[in-house]
Amino acid sequence: MARIIVGISEMAISESAGDVLVTHSLGSCLGFALYDSTMKIGGLLHSMLPLSSTDYPRARKNPAMFVDTGVTKLLEQMFKRGCSRENLVVKVAGGARVLDRQDLFRIGERNYTVFRKVLWKNNLLIAGEDVGGSVSRSVRLELGCGRFYVRTGSEEREL
């Protein structure tokens, strides 16, 4: 039983019931959780930028940094461990935006748009989401039961 912290631009997968995958300070970044309800395998990703085309060499070194390569990589690894598309539950949080919706800092919205596209390509639906707004979030995914919680300040809710 472990609490696994997923850092910025990182991902983690666990198969042990009792493990908790956590990521903090999502801001405009996206926290993407995948859970196979039959195999009881869960994965969590914390991506900071929408597209790997911004910086290919960096994306090759660290695919989790970008939403497009990160989501693809996490899916790939989940499939490799025997997860199947039909059993995957997709939840997502983050993508906050700043007060004035200045184009330069619409990173959160772009992250979410790219995320939707990648999911669509992979034929997956979103089961729960808490995105946008002007708040920074933390999330955790509990293995075993697959519960996914979003925390803002001192408030926490299940998605």
Binding site: I8, L49, A96, L99, D100, S136
Partner: protein, 299 residues
């Protein structure tokens, strides 16, 4: 005198007077920086600190030595053989990096408490400030006629220092501030001004003034949320810190209750030719540096 409605106080003048007195007192009593660290900040103005002088100063500061060696030996800075002495470390990292680490180390000492008013845990203000500092430095390398990167690093490192004092006051008036921010569309610093009479930016510049730091750092702290108001000579730097601050809130830790409640001053972009792809590339590069610094500072 006609005041703009946006900045007018919403507390009784006597209460504002009382808060003002307490804030000024906290500034007077704010712990100082070791003298040689203040000297380093002041020497920013000079072209280069002498490498030998720097190594000498480091030797008398055992606290930093361990961290400096750890950083110099970290794979992220390309270490190939083990570095055992301070002088070797300075040679490996360069004077600029060494100075920055030294400054960050001492600033971290002042930023080590949780700041409840902003909902920040113990290390979060430091992490935010470091992120902004490294992003600001990167922005400098992307634009023509930019100020020198060490100015940007240092100014950004200290931009939110006022939160250390103002946090307790924000805590006292939290309901009123939250009301203005969440229901009346004020930015967080505007709300601070209306409810306390002081913003964290003003408080920070008062601390830096109290420390006798260079005017550049005082002014950038003062205007980091409204760089257009900064004195002309520091306006570009204030703009760079403004952008770096936003990047840090968007992508890094320490956004707290306020991070997504500030105005982005678009006018800064007239002087800073930045676009989406540059900003996003900077973000990716910053993360790597942040991780190296966090490791060295034990954050």
């Amino acid at each position: 005198m006609n005041q703009k409605p946006t900045t007018s106080l919403i507390i009784p003048p006597e209460l504002a007077e009382y808060y003002g007195r307490r804030i000024r007192l906290s500034v007077q009593q704010f712990p100082g920086m070791p003298i040689f660290v203040s000297q380093l900040f002041n020497e920013l103005k000079q072209e280069e600190t002498d490498m030998r002088v720097l190594s000498e100063q480091l030797r008398v500061d055992p606290g930093i030595t361990v961290n400096l060696l750890r950083l110099a030996n970290s794979a992220r800075f390309g270490a190939s053989r083990e570095i055992k002495s301070v002088h070797e470390a300075v040679v490996r990292l360069g004077v600029r990096r060494t100075t920055e680490i030294l400054l960050a180390f001492h600033v971290a000492g002042h930023f080590s408490h949780p700041l409840k008013g902003y909902d920040l845990s113990a290390s979060e203000l430091m992490k935010h400030s470091l992120w902004a500092a490294l992003a600001a430095e990167k922005v400098c390398t992307e634009i023509p006629d930019a100020p020198s990167p060490e100015y940007a690093f240092t100014a950004a490192l200290l931009h939110d220092i006022g939160k250390v004092i103002l946090s307790d006051f924000v805590m006292e008036e939290q309901p009123a501030i939250v009301q203005l921010v969440q229901h009346e569309k004020y930015s967080f610093d505007e709300a601070e001004k209306r409810v306390l009479g002081w913003t964290h930016a003003e408080t920070g510049s008062a601390i830096l003034n109290h420390w006798n730091f260079p005017d550049l750092l005082i002014q950038v702290a003062r205007y980091h949320h409204d760089p257009g108001q900064a004195p002309e000579e520091y306006r570009m730097l204030a703009g760079i810190v403004h952008v770096a601050d936003f990047l840090a809130y968007c992508q890094g830790p320490g956004a707290g209750v306020d991070g997504f409640s500030y105005h982005f001053r678009e006018a800064v972009l007239e002087r800073l030719p930045l676009n989406k792809s540059v900003v996003e590339r900077i973000a990716g590069e910053t993360l790597e540096q942040v991780e190296a610094f966090n490791a060295a500072l034990g954050l």
